[in-house]
């Protein structure tokens, strides 16, 4: 057993020192009748060679971005991942270490996390960001709970154009804390219905949640929504599921958002069948003591040298137990490091150029789609299309051409069963974009 380092002889010596004859004796504290008599119905140990064969065979049962061009986004995006990222996170110093509870021997993780918090603040335009939450869905839930905590109000308006799965996670978290979630409709532009918002929002509301670019890819009317929200003393929670968009778009912070939550997968994290991803959480400075999750702060050591530590721990469960701001303990640390390296690789120019490529390639598709576009609002790299035939059918054709098409909207919006949400990133080629347009509109593209 290559994962164990104790030899039979050493085992003997250790048992002797411990004062028992057989290892089994150490388990005597488990009542006889509870001790397992049978051997586990799990295969015998497989060799490294067999393991690799097996998992490669499983891989061949998948379609993946290795062999297909993806136009599927909807909260998980196929972006370029710089090679250096894996070189950094493959250093065991980073990936095999624990939460930096002992700062003297964890300054690497701590400084990198402090850099992450700063980068997220810069990207979102907010004042403070935490060290990560699980994913976009739970980040939204934590954001709403924080708004409820701070405002001591129980009603929350959530735009229907927020990612449906995020909304489901929010429902799960809110279910038993008597929080009332109300839906906020959208107009034919795809933006939140501002009149409805004005009509619905009140002094009873803790928060209003909108997303931009929203689930339909539409750039929402964030500024106006925030204004209306704050006019009644509610907190504005803005969701971002496509972080790359912030390389180009005015960040929620600049527009006055109180809390920004979102998904950081676009920042160098592989599609990975949905996880591990990266929950982003940022807010205005005045709310920092209400924040969920870990925070790294700057300080000095006993000799006055600058260093970093986990701080404001009194918010957390291991100190405050049932009074904690959240129950989260293990977070997505290594994914935060990935995002830190990604943002550092791209830097000021790169993040902009990347965002522009997404915008321009998507715009090329948008032009080709013409009237098949469902919403009139401005978009970044995703858009909803009215299809000439059943979207699932179209996808089936596309697969044979090495293309994974968009998301049939019927899945979340039964009344939109003929619509497809498509995404274009810098990874998509002109040729395949044209092919997609043809398949969606059954109009031949001639360029």
């Amino acid at each position: 057993m290559r994962y164990v380092s104790i030899t039979p002889e050493e085992k003997r010596l250790m048992l002797k020192a411990t004062g028992v004859d057989r290892v089994e004796d150490l388990f005597a504290t488990i009542p006889e009748n509870l001790r397992l008599s049978k051997t586990l119905d799990i295969p015998e140990a497989a060799s490294e060679t067999d393991i690799l064969k097996y998992f490669h065979s499983l891989g061949r049962k998948n379609a993946s971005a290795e062999d297909f061009e993806y136009f599927l986004g909807a909260g998980a995006y196929n972006h370029f991942i710089p090679t250096v990222i894996d070189s950094v996170i493959s250093r065991s110093e980073f990936y095999t270490s624990y939460t930096p509870y002992q700062p003297e021997v964890s300054q690497g993780t701590l400084q990198a996390t402090f850099e992450f918090q700063t980068l997220i603040c810069q990207l979102t335009g907010m004042e403070v960001a935490n060290a990560s939450l699980y994913d976009g869905g739970s980040a939204l839930a934590e954001g709403v709970l924080m708004a409820v905590r701070t405002t001591r109000r129980q009603k929350v308006l959530v735009a229907q154009s927020v990612h449906p799965e995020y909304r489901r996670v929010l429902e799960t978290y809110a279910a038993n804390l008597d929080i009332q979630l109300q839906e906020l409709p959208f107009t034919e532009s795809g933006c939140v219905d501002v009149e409805a918002l004005e009509r619905l929002v009140s002094e009873d509301h803790a928060a209003v949640v909108i997303q931009s670019p929203n689930f339909f890819g539409v750039l929402d009317d964030v500024e106006q929504a925030i204004g209306l929200t704050q006019s009644v003393g509610a907190l504005s929670v803005v969701v971002v599921s496509e972080a790359i968009s912030l390389g180009l778009l005015k960040p929620p912070g600049e527009l006055g958002a109180d809390i920004v939550v979102g998904e950081g997968q676009s920042l160098g994290i592989p599609l990975g069948f949905g996880g591990p991803y990266l929950g982003l959480f940022a807010s205005k400075d005045k709310y920092k003591r209400q924040m969920p999750g870990r925070l790294v702060g700057q300080t000095v050591d006993s000799e006055g040298r600058q260093g970093y530590v986990l701080t404001l721990a009194t918010r957390e469960q291991h100190i405050r137990r049932q009074k904690a701001t959240s129950n989260i303990c293990t977070n997505q640390g290594l994914c935060a490091l990935v995002a830190t390296v990604f943002m550092s690789v791209l830097g000021k120019q790169g993040i902009r150029e990347l965002a522009e490529q997404n915008l321009k390639k998507a715009f090329h598709l948008r032009k080709l789609l013409g009237d098949s576009l469902v919403f009139s609002g401005a978009t970044f790299n995703e858009m909803v299309v009215e299809c000439s035939e059943d979207p699932a059918e179209i996808n089936r054709h596309l697969v044979s051409e090495g293309i994974i098409g968009g998301l049939p909207l019927g899945r979340y919006f039964p009344d939109r069963s003929n619509q497809m949400l498509v995404c274009v990133t810098e990874q998509n080629s002109l040729e395949k974009i044209n092919r997609l347009a043809e398949a969606l509109t059954s109009v031949k593209v001639t360029l």
Binding site: V4, S5, T18, V23, F27, T29, P31, L40, I42, E44, R60, N62, A63, A65, P82, V88, S92, E93, Y95, S97, Y98, S106, Q111, A112, T113, E115, T118, G125, A129, G137, R168, Y173, N176, G272, F273, G274, G275, P276, K288, R294, S302, G307, T311, E316, R321, N327, C329, T330, Q332, C335, V341, V345, L346, K348, G350, L354, Q357, L359, K360, L430
Partner: protein
């Protein structure tokens, strides 16, 4: 600019301080569509001028920056990392390689089932293995960590009880429990009643029985508990709780002590969670990601999060049609990458291997206990399994505390144990070796601990001023919390 250690550059600044206009570490393909100016595509009201503050560095600088930072971390591949309750075992390289196979790492969570059969098989097979290991009936791999699993587990209990009439009001939690337990119970809408431990370090059954009532939804226990002690009265406990119509949630963070020896499903547990990042060797990544499968008995299965992964003949499918489900806790399928690693680990170890792991983990903990009990106070003389908790009582006389002992261990080249937890032990030193270490490494750790106990007696100053060899001396946490500088500013 002085640098004091050759294999570790100690004065690397923040990445922002390395930045200068014109440097770059990225490269992008040339745009192959018409290059329409951004302003012609989007109204300027949508646009920002730049991401102010974003760094600009070259690839060389970037690599050096993070390489230098990395050398400031202690890590498993360097030496023993005996954090109690965290199960810091070796993270096999094979897991990492398998998780990076492109056809496994680059699949989209929303792509059609028929294009995801490989990924679904991984999830399904792992679930089957976990069921067999725990003797439970159903699993969800969706929770991204133990804490989230706790929330889901309690929500499932709540849903179940609600169906039977009332969700009830309270959750019983031993005072030795991990902080996530009460926090999760509250998040699920319950109030917490704390149950004291008896003088053996176990749940005080008498008190528990008194507190148990028709108003109590469940008892949330950890087994073996955070003292490393097996709750020998578990059956009696379960009976008491079940009699009153309550359920039992087991925090399975310490499952590394039980593989092949005992199964929660045979102890009267209704639902539990496992931590793939503990028992099943997925790396801790400096704080995460983890994965907290929630595992339950048949009667709770209907309430598991959706989608569920089901097998139909040769094919696997995602079933979201579970009207009684408590819903989702993750946007997609949870931390899939951790599931890949865990399955790889289980198949690599095999049935005998998994059992051997638990044996060696328990043997190592007991060996440490025996060799150190003369030197450090043992608050409970109860038998233990995979971890041992000492206290600083003996050293306290000389003004040396757990904190000091922990920092001094750093000078001996070891990561400190978990400190000041569980709360029922004053100045707790919680040591979990896991099965990974050689006797040589264990002895080196034990010798260091003994040497420190001597220093505490003969030369306390040495211990009080530790660490002497780390990048930094002790940090001012009060100042950090007061000034709360949470980001770099130009």
């Amino acid at each position: 600019m002085t640098r004091t250690s050759v294999t570790s550059i100690l004065n690397e600044p923040l990445i922002f301080e390395r930045s200068a206009p014109g440097k770059s570490a990225y490269s992008l393909p040339r745009l192959d569509v018409e290059d329409v100016p951004v302003e012609e595509i989007l109204d300027s009201k949508y646009l920002r001028t730049e991401v102010r503050g974003f760094p600009e560095v070259s690839e060389v600088e970037l690599i050096r920056h993070f390489t230098r930072l990395s050398t400031w971390n202690y890590h498993i591949d360097l030496g023993m990392y005996p954090l109690g309750s965290c199960t810091m075992k070796y993270n096999p390289k094979l897991n990492e390689r398998v998780a990076r196979i492109p056809s496994i790492a680059l699949t989209h969570p929303l792509q059609e089932e028929q294009h995801s059969q490989g990924s679904l098989e991984i999830l399904f097979r792992l679930q089957e293995c976990l069921k067999e290991l725990t003797a439970m009936d159903a699993v969800s791999l969706q929770p991204a960590g133990g804490a989230q699993a706790e929330l889901i587990g309690i929500l499932m209990i709540r849903a179940h009880l609600t169906q039977k009439g009332s969700p009830r009001k309270f959750v019983l939690i031993p005072d030795s429990a991990h902080g996530t337990n009460p926090a999760s119970a509250v998040l699920a809408g319950y109030e917490v009643i704390s149950i004291p431990s008896d003088k053996k370090g176990r749940i005080d059954v008498k008190v528990m029985a008194e507190k148990m009532s028709e108003e109590v939804a469940c008892l949330m226990l950890t087994n073996p508990n955070t003292m490393g002690i097996f709750e020998t009265h578990i059956e009696e406990i379960a009976q008491i709780v079940h009699q009153k119509g309550g359920l039992i949630y087991m925090d399975g963070a310490n499952f590394n002590a039980l593989m092949g020896y005992a199964r929660p499903g045979e102890m009267g547990i209704d639902v539990l969670h496992l931590n793939l990042h503990k028992t099943f060797s997925t790396p801790h990544g400096g704080g995460g990601p983890g994965s907290g499968p929630v595992v339950c008995k048949e009667h709770l299965a209907p309430y598991l999060p959706v989608p569920r992964i089901e097998q139909e003949g040769e094919r696997y499918r995602l079933n979201s049609d579970k009207p009684e489900s408590v819903g989702r806790v993750h946007s997609f399928h949870g931390n899939f990458g951790m599931a890949v690693r865990a399955l790889c680990y289980i198949l690599s170890c095999g049935r005998e291997g998994l059992k051997e792991l638990s044996e060696m983990a328990v043997l190592s903990a007991n060996y440490i206990r025996r060799r150190l009990e003369g030197h450090y106070e043992l608050p409970y003389d109860t038998d233990i399994l995979h971890e041992v908790v000492f206290s600083d009582k003996k050293q306290h006389k000389n003004g040396v505390t757990t904190q000091d002992i922990a920092k001094r261990l750093i000078d001996y080249g070891f990561h400190p144990p978990t400190t000041y937890f569980p709360l029922i032990v004053q100045g707790a030193l919680m040591i979990e070796p896991t099965e990974s270490h050689s006797k040589e490494e264990l002895d080196a750790f034990i010798d260091a601990m003994i040497a420190i106990s001597r220093e505490a007696r003969d030369d306390p100053e040495k211990v009080l001023s530790a660490p002497a060899t780390a990048k930094l001396t002790r940090l001012d946490e009060v100042r950090a919390a007061r000034s709360a500088i949470l980001r770099w500013e130009p």
